[in-house]
Amino acid sequence: MNFSIANDNVIWQNLLTGDRNALAKLMHAFFRPLANYGLRFTSDKELIKDSVQELFIVLWERRDQLATSVNLKSYLFTSFRRLLLRKLKKIHKTSTITLDPIYVDSFSFVLGTESKIIASEQANNLSNHFNQLIAKLPERQREVVYLKFFESLSREEIANILEIAPQTVSNILQIALSKLKIATPESVWKFCTFPLVLLLVEYLF
């Protein structure tokens, strides 16, 4: 489902000339990455769906004014982030009752594990270990780590999305990594055996 950059650009050009199918293709391809990113700010699935739709409708309405060459992924992430945070702010303002925990808009993510690859107990230990470290990071650092390592965005793309300088991104990453590179306790690996590695090799190829 991931489009190559060249393909992305073709679809983008088609969208700009008024091809509704191009918009549908982009929306389908980017729904999951955008939705997953949005879920870091709120667990309200309906709000996420609304926001993704709004993003693509606005794109369509403004297609005459959009740049012909863009970094699509970072452009969509940037616009989506802005739109979603504006919506969340509005909910915070208008909400009179005590705030539903799903609307607390601090950036968070939880790591899980793919137990197909390694023994589940070991996998759980591993994700727990990293979750504990990540939970201790300040929000901004957490968001940069998420975009960098779990969305594979570049330094420049992250700088665009968060509307900060690329150098600042590097600095934040450096600080975050210094806190994350704490040695994984030996106990986490106590179930790791050689056959498992072989199993993995089979699984991959």
Binding site: M27, E46, W60, L111, E114, A183, W189
Partner: protein, 379 residues
């Protein structure tokens, strides 16, 4: 001068958080071939590289899943909105001939209108209060533009596609009114008497509003049912998917209700319903009579087969499968467990079975299930 390979000094964590190594592992194949070569050159580092690779492949971000169907539905809805907006740009081309044809109809309609108007005038004088009641007729009267009215007098449900693509299943003896086009920029309004099931095309910018007597149901894109027969004392709204908010029509609320905060909306989630009492405009939230599974049946079947399962897990599963909130004393019931296959039973039957096992009871309050039980002894 020889530049030393920095990877030789890498720890497990360094590899795990290394941008290039991570990308090569995740892409696999050719990209990872570099590291296979590298390991051959530095065999002592092989266990480390393997461990780091396992770690990267094992740990991923835990996401709430969206079903493929759900995403496709959203894309389709969005396409529909765009197509309709496109049509809106060129609506006038063949409007003129149609208008000429309709001339006699227009004359006939104005005669009907005059008759209706004078009848209303007479009715109005009979009872001053009547115009202030939020009946279907009064609601429609307040709309400045013309509406299409569809009536189902057959014995079978009638499926109607509204101008925005929304599907409406109109029950017997029911009536719905809607504009030829949803021209208002910020909303889509329809008026109902009787019963209808709506499958609304999601349009974030134009909420869909159903007016039924004094109750307004507002949604973006969901499936839900509204029942509002003139002879009933209440209006009922039931949600099948998505999220729905309901509120009393502010136009018809009396002043002390307006002053207090009673007009604020109530949000409904799947398997919840509200009853709106026409007499005093009060709204009560409960559960639908027959809650449906929100997960695919096969998946749900497996989940609700409990084998010595702690009771808090049982409730967590039911919560997930039906999307409803179950409230219980976690501490009190910590030692309880359940050994039963609940497949084939309705939610209420399932709750009865669980409560029998717990020697307790349940009640439905404000759209949630409340469990009353004393707890179990340690085995």
């Amino acid at each position: 001068m020889l530049i030393q390979d920095p990877y030789l000094n890498y720890s497990l964590e360094d590899f795990f958080w290394d941008e290039r190594f991570r990308a090569d592992v995740l892409n696999g194949g050719k990209d990872f071939a570099y590291w296979e070569e590298w390991v051959k050159l530095h065999p002592t580092h092989q266990p480390l590289v393997e461990k780091a690779k396992l770690m990267i492949l094992s740990v991923y971000v835990d996401n709430i899943t969206f079903h493929e169907d759900e995403i496709q539905q959203l894309v389709r809805d969005t396409q529909k909105i765009l197509e309709l907006d496109y049509v809106d740009d060129f609506p006038m081309e063949d409007a003129t001939p149609a208008r000429k044809m309709n001339r006699y109809w227009a004359i006939a309609a104005s005669i009907v209108l005059m008759v209706v108007a004078s009848w209303i005038f007479v009715e109005k004088n009979k009872s001053v209060n009547l115009s202030f009641q939020p009946s279907y007729e009064n609601l429609i009267k307040a709309i400045p533009h013309q509406l299409i009215e569809r009536v189902n007098q057959t014995n079978a449900p009638l499926i109607i596609t509204l101008p925005d693509g929304t599907r409406t299943t109109l029950s017997t003896n029911s009536k719905i009114s809607y504009p030829e086009k949803f021209i208002a920029l910020d909303k889509r309004e329809v008026f109902l008497v009787g019963e209808a099931f709506f499958e609304v095309v999601r349009n974030t910018q134009k909420p869909f509003l159903v007016y039924a007597e004094g109750l307004v149901t507002k949604v973006l894109g969901t499936k839900f049912r509204v029942r509002s027969y003139a002879i009933d004392k209440e209006v009922v709204v039931e949600v099948a998917s998505g999220r729905v908010s309901v509120f009393a029509n502010p136009k018809f609320a009396n002043d002390d209700k307006k002053a207090s905060n009673e007009l604020s909306s109530i949000v409904l989630i799947p398997n919840q319903k509200v009853s709106f009492l026409k007499s005093d405009a009060s709204i009560v939230k409960t559960l639908v009579n027959n809650p449906i599974l929100l997960k695919p049946e096969q998946e749900a079947k497996k989940l609700i087969n409990f084998d010595d399962t702690p009771i808090y897990t049982v409730f967590a599963v039911l919560k997930e499968v039906y999307g409803i909130d179950i409230v219980f004393d976690e501490e009190l019931l910590a030692e309880c467990s359940l050994n039963a296959n609940l497949d084939g039973y309705s939610l209420y039957e399932q709750l009865n079975i669980i409560c029998k096992a717990l020697n307790g009871s349940y009640e439905v309050l404000d759209g949630r299930v409340i469990i009353n039980a004393k707890g179990c002894f340690k085995k």
